[in-house]
C-alpha cells in the first residue's frame, strides 16, 4: 500500500528553522540522505509522527558544499551529517560531534561524490556517431 509522502522544498538559510519546527512539534527525525546530481547535491530530511511522513528537500551547488548542521536541534543528526561529509564531501557547520572525516575511512576521499552513471548516460548523445570505417 503506497504511503502518502509529502515533500517541501526549503532553502539552506531556512533549514535549521524548519527543522526546529518539526522538533518542537515532536516529530521524529527518520533519516537524512543526499543524492549527487549533475547540477549539485539534493538533500532529503525525513520526519515521522504517528506514521505521517514528511520530507524537507534542499539543493546546494557542488562548488560550495556547505550547510548548517541540524545536530543542535536533533542530536542524532550528527551521525547522518558525518556520513554525508565523509562520502560526499559536504561540510556541516556547527556539528555537535565532528569526526573530522574519520567516520568512514574510505580508500578514496568522498567516494560517492561522482555523477551517477544513470545521469551520465542520460546526458550523453542518444546516437553517437559511428567510428569511421577502416
Amino acid at each position: 500500500m503506497r504511503e502518502n509522502q509529502t515533500t517541501e522544498t526549503v532553502t539552506p538559510a531556512d533549514l535549521v528553522g524548519k527543522v526546529r519546527e518539526f522538533a518542537d512539534a515532536n516529530w521524529r527525525l527518520v533519516q537524512i540522505c543526499v543524492t549527487r546530481l549533475p547540477e549539485g547535491f539534493e538533500l532529503n530530511y525525513t520526519f515521522d509522527k504517528e506514521y505521517a511522513f514528511r520530507n524537507l528537500r534542499l539543493s546546494i551547488p557542488v562548488e560550495v558544499p556547505v550547510l548548517p548542521s541540524v545536530s543542535g536541534v536533533y542530536w542524532n543528526a550528527f551521525l547522518y551529517e558525518n556520513e554525508m561529509h565523509d562520502l560526499f564531501g559536504i561540510t556541516f557547520e556547527g556539528l555537535v560531534l565532528d569526526f573530522k572525516g574519520t567516520l568512514y575511512k574510505t580508500a578514496k576521499p568522498f567516494a560517492f561524490n561522482e555523477i551517477p552513471v544513470a545521469c551520465a548516460a542520460k546526458s550523453a548523445p542518444a546516437n553517437p556517431a559511428a567510428p569511421a570505417a577502416g
Binding site: R28, Y51, L79
Partner: protein, 359 residues
C-alpha cells in the same frame, strides 16, 4: 572529583559479533560519556547501483546483511515496484510476509542466544540456537538458502511454496512454540537474568523519540510504533498489534523481542490458513522513473529505503537507513551513567547489526 579514564570497548569484543568501537570515559566504575566509532567494514554497496542493472541489484541488496537479508531484498523490490506501479500478485505478497516473519523469529532467537552468552548463561545460549536451527531449516526448504535467499525479485518472487507445505511449516512452528516458551521463561523470570537487565540502560519514551529510536528499542519505552502498520506486503490481511513494554530498560527490550516471536508464529499460522491462489510474479515492463521512500519493519526496527530513478537501467540513487544506524545515538545516551560492567549487556540490547549499518 574522581579521575577520568578512557576505556576502549571494541571493535573486537566477546559480545560483539561485528565491529563497533566505543571510547568509554569512566569515573571510577561509572561511564560518564561514550564516543562511538564505526566504519571498520564500510563497503559502499549503495554506490553499486552504478554498476548493476536495477533488476540485478536485488542480489546486492540482499547481501547487505546476513540476518535480515530477506527484508533487504524485499524492501528494495517494494521500492522499485512502487516507482514502477507494478501489480504484484497477492500470493507473492503473502509469501513475502511469511519469509519476513520467519526472519523475525530466527533473528530474535539469534539475539536471545547472544544475550544469554553475554551474561554468561551458556546452556541457555545453546538451547536458544538449537531452536533457531529448526527455523533456519524452514528457510532452507523454501528458498534453498539459510543466509542469502534470492527469492525476491521486482514484480514478485522466484519460488512458490505449496499450500500443503505452508500448513506443514505452521505445524512445525506450533510444535516449536512450547519449547520457545520454556527457554523464554528463563529470560522472563530468572532472578540472575533480571539482575543483569532490569533497570539497566533506561530510556524514556520522550528521549527515545527525540533520539530517533526505532524497533524494539522504541517499543520497550511504550511507543507502539511498528512500520508493519503501513501495510506493505500482506500485513493488511493478518491480525497483529505491536508488542510494547513501558520500563524502557534492557529487560523491556528483551521482553518485546520475546513477544514478537510468538506474534510472528501467529502471523505465519494466519498466512498458512488463507494462502491466496494465483501467480507469484508479474512482468516488469520498461525501467523505473521516479522516487520513493519505503519503510519496512526489520527485526531490529524501521528501515528506510530510498530509490531515485530517471528511466535508465541503473538507479540514480539507492540509500538505506538501517535500524542500528538509528539506534546508535540512543545507545550512546543510555550508556551515560551506567556501570562499566553493564556496558556489554546494554550495547547488545539494541541488537546492533553493523553489516547493515555500514552497508
Amino acid at each position: 572529583m574522581s579521575k577520568r579514564t578512557i576505556i576502549p570497548f571494541g571493535p573486537q569484543h566477546p559480545v560483539l559479533p561485528e565491529p563497533i568501537h566505543l571510547d568509554l570515559i569512566v569515573e571510577d566504575e561509572k561511564v560518564v560519556e561514550a564516543v562511538p566509532s564505526i566504519g571498520f567494514i564500510h563497503r559502499g554497496l549503495e554506490k553499486l547501483v552504478d554498476k548493476r542493472d536495477f533488476l540485478d541489484y536485488v542480489f546486492v541488496a540482499e547481501r547487505i546483511c546476513g540476518i535480515c537479508s530477506f527484508t533487504h531484498g524485499m524492501s528494495y523490490c517494494i521500492a522499485v515496484e512502487e516507482v514502477m506501479n507494478l501489480p504484484v500478485p497477492e500470493r507473492a505478497l503473502a509469501l513475502r510476509t511469511f519469509w519476513a516473519e520467519i526472519g523475525r523469529i530466527h533473528s530474535h532467537l539469534l539475539w536471545l542466544g547472544l544475550m544469554a552468552d553475554a551474561f554468561g548463561f551458556e546452556s541457555l545460549f545453546m538451547h536458544t540456537w538449537r531452536l533457531r536451527e529448526k527455523v533456519l531449516d524452514i528457510y532452507e526448504e523454501t528458498t534453498g538458502g539459510r543466509v542469502i535467499f534470492n527469492v525476491c525479485k521486482p514484480g514478485g518472487i522466484r519460488r512458490d511454496v505449496t499450500d500443503e507445505k505452508m500448513r506443514d511449516y505452521a505445524k512445525v512452528l506450533n510444535d516449536l512454540e512450547p519449547e520457545i516458551r520454556e527457554i523464554n521463561n528463563v529470560f522472563m523470570n530468572d532472578k540472575t537474568v533480571h539482575h543483569r537487565m532490569c533497570g539497566v540502560g533506561v530510556l524514556s519514551a520522550a528521549d527515545a523519540l527525540k533520539l530517533g529510536c526505532v524497533g524494539p528499542v522504541l517499543r520497550a519505552t511504550g511507543v507502539a510504533q511498528d512500520m508493519r502498520h503501513l501495510n506493505y506486503a500482506w500485513y493488511s490481511q493478518v491480525n497483529w498489534k505491536p508488542a510494547t513494554r513501558t520500563a524502557g530498560d534492557c529487560q523491556a527490550r528483551c521482553e518485546v523481542r520475546i513477544d514478537e516471536i510468538y506474534q510472528a508464529i501467529d502471523i505465519v499460522r494466519q498466512i498458512a490458513g488463507k494462502m491466496p491462489a494465483g501467480e507469484i510474479a508479474c512482468k516488469v515492463p520498461g525501467t523505473p522513473n521516479g522516487e520513493y521512500f519505503v519503510r519496512t519493519e526489520q527485526p531490529r526496527g524501521e528501515a528506510v529505503y530510498y530509490i531515485k530513478a530517471n528511466g535508465a537501467r541503473n538507479l540514480v540513487r539507492f540509500r538505506i537507513r538501517t535500524p542500528t544506524f538509528a539506534n546508535i545515538p540512543a545507545l550512546v545516551k543510555a550508556l551515560q551513567g551506567c556501570d562499566l560492567a553493564d556496558v556489554p549487556v546494554l550495547a547488545l540490547t539494541i541488537d546492533p547489526c553493523i553489516s547493515c549499518t555500514e552497508r
